[in-house]
């Protein structure tokens, strides 16, 4: 019953490293999202994509980039990791068709930058 998978559950990286987080969905959803979740701040949108090769900035895109070369895969890239990017990263996919909405989240990647 796998719907959204993320490449790693836990990741520890050093400051300045380039970090790749991968997300794959198997529901043929057009929309995919990357969020970060921090205590007291809830989920904040980093980037989203509504189609292959399309991307839109969310609320906090600084320090991040994304790639969507295939419909099922959405990658988040931290160009040069910093300690303030230590967080839980959640990927999601969604579809809104005929008034019916569905969205699924992946299990999350807890990233620690030291």
């Amino acid at each position: 019953d796998v719907k959204v998978t993320q490449s790693s559950r836990y990741l520890v990286k050093r400051t300045g490293e380039k970090v790749f987080l991968e997300c794959v969905q198997d529901m043929d959803h057009e929309n995919m999202f990357w969020y970060r979740q921090d205590p007291g701040l809830g989920l904040r949108l980093i980037y989203f994509s509504y189609d292959v090769k399309m991307k839109e900035k969310g609320d906090i895109p600084e320090g991040y980039s994304v790639s969507r070369e295939k419909k099922e895969r959405f990658s988040l890239i931290l160009e040069s990791a910093s300690t303030n990017q230590t967080s839980m990263y959640l990927c999601a996919s969604s579809a809104l068709t005929g008034g019916s909405y569905e969205q699924y989240f992946g299990p999350g990647t807890r990233l620690t930058v030291t």
């Binding site: 959204v4 929309n31 999202f33 969020y35 007291g40 701040l41 809830g42 989920l43 904040r44 949108l45 989203f48 509504y50 839109e56 959640l90 999601a92 809104l96 008034g99 909405y101 569905e102 969205q103 699924y104 989240f105 992946g106 299990p107 999350g108």
Partner: protein, 109 residues
């Protein structure tokens, strides 16, 4: 002012109690209103959603939306220890989705 306000709790209730979780929002353009449940170390799971105003019931869960007051609620009847989780509200307009910070709920046996 945040676009979505949600009391983070924590909220602790005895088993069998009725739980009321609430969110307020400021953007009147939101059309879809969602509630997610997130267990520890897991991603959020969509519980239910409502389009525009009104009520929606699904088993022990009832979602209410009052667009005139910009206020949404989730009620859990006959709460169970397995309902212990963080509950997040969210609102959607086109591709603009906003989440509340989440309310941590504990249901004690």
């Amino acid at each position: 002012q945040k676009e979505v306000e949600q009391d983070p709790g924590p909220l602790s209730v005895p088993e069998g109690a009725i739980v009321s979780l609430n969110c307020t929002y400021s953007n009147s353009a939101f059309q879809y209103f969602m509630w997610y449940r997130q267990y520890s170390r897991k991603g959020p799971e969509l519980l239910m959603y409502t389009y525009s105003s009104g009520n929606k019931e699904d088993g022990r869960f009832t979602a209410q939306v009052d667009k005139s007051s910009k206020y949404i609620s989730l009620f859990i009847r006959d709460s169970q220890p397995s309902d212990s989780a963080t509950y997040l509200c969210a609102m959607l307009n086109n591709n603009d989705m906003r989440f509340g910070a989440g309310t941590r709920l504990t249901v004690k046996p």
